[in-house]
Every structure is written in structure tokens, then in C-alpha cells.
């Protein structure tokens, strides 16, 4: 069966004074039904831009936007804006934003904001129906139902984020994008939210696309991991393998920089910095920092299938590598 979401050759460039920034530069990604995929990458690698590109939440300074976003086999990029708004937004694709202070409208009651998509997409006709739906949505995420009458500023950060999750699930979409859902929260609240997300994943069978910079968060939730580096997905595969036997040299370096609970070794820092997205290198973007660099790395590497599922964007796993050795 085809995956729920399939992203091909997705590109999103931004206009800046210094020239176009290639925030998302030819991304391939798959999200299976009922699976949770973590897009993992360091700050500025284009993770959030990837989420925006999939959700078609484009800022004003877009220079280039192309590729294919197939949801259930239908290319969303072909849909005109109005049709996308009515048929896809929140109905099939929803978003839990970063747990910042202001992801909820400060002057509207929390319950009304949760109910808004229900009214908008014609799921309810009477206020009592909306109230019931909201109460159920809030109960599901562990928010007392009487909080529906409160304003966002009357809620704690963790409660606000729970409300955001309730809101994202209120129409039971096929895919929920979680954009750093636990950043800006304290560690205990983070742990509570991760547990909640795990429970919801089991209960609802919804697919999640989790954007995060935190290997620990990814390992908690993800079935698959997509590792992003300088605007590209360099490795994609089951989380289990990614955490135990990473394939891409960047994934290996990243794994070495994090120490597990029962490991007795010093963390290995990864020297250097990611290349500028203004002017990325022509070949492999990791080549400059890569310990396994060899001749073909000056050319753009292909996506190579890996044993056990997934792909890696690296010359090491191609025919050329075996010739070179």
C-alpha cells in the first residue's frame, strides 16, 4: 500500500537581501499510515521550512516553491489555494506549532478556538454540539473541560500546548505535523507531553510528522527518522536502526555526540558548521565535515536504498564506493 504522505523533490527557497536561501532543497520523505516520522536536524537546517512547505504555510518572501506532496496519492501541489483551504487544511493536515507563548489568539476563549475548525468545515450546526466536541477533545488531551471558557493567558504553557494538540486533533486529520511541540517547556512538562503524544498515537492511529532537533524526543516517539542536513534529507529509515546503526556519516557523527543512558564513553563533538543555505556546495553538503570523504563527494550524491528499509544520500553505499576501495 502506498504511504500516507509522500514528498518528492520538494523545494522551498526564500528571498533575502543576500540572495535566495535554499531552506528546503529537493526533499524526499515518506510517512506511513499510523506511523510517526521524526524529522531530525540541527537549527537552521530547514526542518521548520519543510513543515511549512508541506502545510503550504508560506511566508511572504518565497522565491521558489516546487515539488510533489502526495497525500493519499493525491498531489496537493496541484490544488488551487481555495480548494486546498477547504479540503486539506485541518481536515486532512493539521499542525501543532512550537510551544511558544502565542500560538493561541489572546483575545478568544480557548474553547472557541478549538471549536473554530468544526464550524468552519461544517462539522457542527449548533453551539451545544460544538461544546460537546470541544469537551471531548479537551478530555482526550487531559485538559479540564471547564478550561474551555478561559483565555489563553489564564493557562500554563503546558496546558496551552495540550489545547493546541486538542485543536489539531479535533477534526481527526490523517496527518498531524508537530513542529518542535515540546521546545520552550520545562523538562517535566516536556515528559508529560511526550507521554500524552505516545498515548494519542496508540489510541487514534493518526500519523504524525514530528519536527525536532532533539535526538531524545525523536527516539521517544518516532517509528521512522528522517535526518535533515542543510536543506536535504540525508538519511531516512526505521528509528531503531537510526539509533543503533546509523548509516550516513553525519548520522554516525550525531549518534557519537549523544551519550546513551547505559553507555560508558565520552560524547564526541562534531567539528565544523553546516554550510550556508545561501550558497550550498555543489556536491555532498556534508563533505567538508565528513571523515569518510573521497573522490565522488564533489558530485551530488544519489539516494541509495538501505537494507532493512529507508534510504541514504551518500556515495559510500554506491557502486562507485566499492570501485574506489
Amino acid at each position: 500500500m502506498a504511504p500516507l504522505l509522500r514528498v518528492e523533490e520538494l523545494r522551498l527557497y526564500f528571498r533575502t537581501a543576500a540572495g535566495p536561501v535554499r531552506a528546503v532543497d529537493g526533499v524526499y520523505l515518506e510517512v506511513g499510515r499510523g506511523r510517526t516520522v521524526a524529522v531530525l536536524g540541527e537549527s537552521g537546517c530547514g526542518k521548520t521550512s519543510l513543515a511549512r512547505a508541506i502545510l503550504r504555510l508560506l511566508p511572504r518572501n518565497v522565491a521558489h516553491y516546487s515539488g510533489r506532496v502526495l497525500l493519499d496519492g493525491e498531489d496537493l501541489m496541484d490544488l488551487p489555494e481555495e480548494q486546498f483551504r477547504q479540503e486539506v487544511r485541518w481536515v486532512r493536515l493539521s499542525l501543532v506549532p512550537q510551544a511558544a507563548m502565542n500560538s493561541l489568539n489572546p483575545v478568544l476563549r480557548v474553547g472557541d478556538q478549538v471549536a473554530e475548525p468544526l464550524w468552519l468545515h461544517g462539522r457542527v450546526r449548533r453551539p451545544e454540539e460544538a461544546r460537546d466536541h470541544v469537551a471531548e477533545a479537551l478530555r482526550r488531551v487531559g485538559v479540564p473541560t471547564e478550561f474551555a471558557d478561559r483565555y489563553p493567558f489564564e493557562l500554563s504553557g503546558g496546558m496551552r500546548q495540550r489545547v493546541a494538540i486538542a485543536m489539531a486533533l479535533v477534526l481527526r486529520p490523517q496527518l498531524v505535523v508537530l513542529d518542535e511541540p515540546t521546545s520552550a517547556l520545562d523538562v517535566l512538562t516536556q515528559a508529560n507531553l511526550l507521554n500524552l503524544l505516545k498515548t494519542l498515537r496508540w489510541e487514534l492511529g493518526t500519523s504524525f510528522l514530528l519536527i525536532t532537533h532533539d535526538v531524545a524526543t525523536a527516539s521517544e516517539l518516532a517509528d521512522d527518522v528522517a535526518l535533515m542536513y542543510a536543506g536535504q534529507i540525508v538519511e531516512f529509515g526505521p528509528a531503531e536502526r537510526f539509533l543503533t546503526e546509523p548509516t550516513h556519516p553525519y548520522a554516525q557523527a550525531l549518534r557519537a555526540s549523544v551519550v546513551g543512558l547505559r553507555e560508558e564513553r565520552a560524547p564526541q563533538p562534531l567539528p565544523g558548521r553546516p554550510p550556508s543555505l545561501l550558497n550550498p556546495p555543489a556536491g555532498c553538503r556534508f563533505a567538508e565535515r565528513c571523515p569518510a570523504r573521497f573522490d565522488p563527494c564533489g558530485q551530488a550524491p544519489p539516494l541509495v536504498p538501505v537494507e532493512g528499509g529507508g534510504r541514504v544520500m551518500c556515495w559510500l553505499y554506491t557502486q562507485e564506493a566499492s570501485h574506489a576501495r
Binding site: 502565542n102 489568539n105 489572546p106
Partner: protein
Amino acid sequence: MAQAVAVTAPRGGVRQHPAARVLLYAVTRLVALLTAVVVGVYLTILVANMGGYVDQIKRAEIREQVALAVSLNEQMQRLPADVRERVAEQMIRNEERRLGLDRPFLSRSVGYLRDALLLRLGFAERMTSDTGSRLVRQIILDRLPATLLLFLSAQLLLFFASVAAALALSRRYGSPADRLVVALAPTSAAPAWFYGIFLILVFAAGLRWLPFGGMVDAPPPEGKLAYAASVLKHMVLPLASLALSSIFLSVYAWRTFFLIFSSEDYVELARAKGLPGRLVERRYILRPALPTILTSFALGLIGAWTGAIVLETVFNWPGLGRALYQAVGLYDTPVIVGSTILYAYLLAVTVFALDIVYAVVDPRVKVGLGGER
């Protein structure tokens, strides 16, 4: 700014009865505003009297008038010099006492303040109203309608036009129209009367389409409709110069304001939720920005009550600004103080009303004194 009023946690703490809290808050605010009015009006009294120096000017004038009167009076001239001198001195003292100049300025200024605060505006010293009265109240009332007609129309027109245009521009950030407005914003550095002079040159002197100034044709046309049409025709150029002098800056400022509000996370989330653009604008941009918009609107409206001195002069508009200008030139302090107290009270009432409006439109603003925590 809005939060500064008092943002209180809804839970915990000892609570007063809400009505008592609101009442206490209202009284405290009123006392604060009244104090501001008193200080403002007293400062105006000091300034309008040049801190008492106007007394000396008036004394010199009285002396000169009496000397002139004496020298022109033949009967006086027949009196012996020392008697004439004594009579003249008596006349000067009488006149000074009539004007209250025999008492020190500071003690009189308290009386002025009391009269002003009680809206006993009294008599003008030299000016007369257009209808011939010396009552300051009448002078102001005669001029107020003309000023309000011109400046309220300008204010309403400008406010709604610039907010609508700014909203449209904030949707098209970086478009040619947007960049044009940004580029034209500095044109507001020149005052309205500056544009007025050019407009008069072109449309009155050059093309002869519109009148040079004034409020109606002379003689005024018969019939209400014809009269209104004539007033409208006279309003075109002053309105246009008021608009020209501030529209671009105003649109630019609002557009930037809306851009800031539209980059909030909840606006993006509203788009992701599939809200249509107009609804996002109304519920997620305009609604949270409402306190600021209302403040700007209300303060703009009361700003219209003072008129504009130079613009009214350039267009020969019979408004309060010109009366004030005349009063300043004649050291007619009652008129200056009278029009100031009117504005001070309006401002205080408006600010008080805005405080209440904030609490109504913004749930984050809770009426209280900050003591309730």
C-alpha cells in the same frame, strides 16, 4: 501598554467584590485624570500670562491709554499740571483695579484656575465673538462648528481610508504599491498648510475650479441644499491638504502595525486551520489589535476639537484655530484658557472612557489596582 493597566491572575488571592473593585478603580482613575487636568490648565494659565509678565504689558498699555485720553481731553488740559497728574494716576488705578491688576498675579491665578475648572469662562478682554458677544463661551461656540465640520470629516476620512489601505497593503507586502507608500511616507514631514498653499495656487488661482478660502460663498446661497453644496465646495481644498499631509505616513504606520500583528504565531495557525483570509484578518489581526486602533481613533477625534491655526489662516476658515491665534496675539488670556480647558476635559473623559473600553475588548486587561494578586 494595555497590560500595564493591571494584568491579574484569575486564581488565588483575596478577592474584593467585583463591583467594589471596579468602583475603586474608576474613582482612582478619575482622581488621577482630574489632577492631570488641573496641572495642565494651571500651566496653561501661567504660560498664557507669561508667568505674570502680561500684567506689565497691560499696565504699560493702560498708562499709555490714560495719557492719550488725558492729552486729548480739552477739559483736562485746562486743569493745572499737578491736579491733572493726580486725576490721571487715579484713572490708572481705577483701570488697574477693574482688571484686577492691583492684586499679585499668583493669587489671581488661583482664581483663574477655579473659574476655568468650573467652566466659568467669563468675558474676553478684547475679542468679541462673530455674533458680537464678549463671552468667551460664545466666542468658542461660534467657532467650534466650523472647526469640527472640517477636522472631524478629515479625521474620519483619513482614519478609515488609511486603515483600509494599510490592511490591503499588509496583504501585499513588498508589492509596487507597498513600496510606493513607503517611499512617499516622508512627504508627511510638511504640514497641511504647506500643501494648502500649493493646492490654492493650482486649483483656485490657476484652474479656478475651487474657491480660495472661506466657508461659504458671499452672499450665502439661499436654500439648505445650495448652502451645503457651497460649504462642501469650500471644504475640498482644506480636506485635500489635510489628507495629503498625513495619508501616506498614516497608511505606512498602520501597514507596519498590521504586518507586526500578522506575523504572530496564532495568525499562521489560523491560516493552517483553514480560516479564509478575511476571517483571519478580522478575528486574528484586527481583533487583538483593537485596543490600539480604538485609542488612535479616539485621540484623533478629540484632536479635531482644537483646529489648526495656520491651516485655518491659509484657507480663511472661520474656526477655533484662528480664534486662538487672534487671542494669542491680543494677550487675551481668558480665550486661550477657555479653549484649553475644553480640550483638557475632553481628553480626560476620552482617556477614562478608553480605560473602560480596554477592559471590555481585551480579556487580558482586568480592571483593578494591581493590589489584587
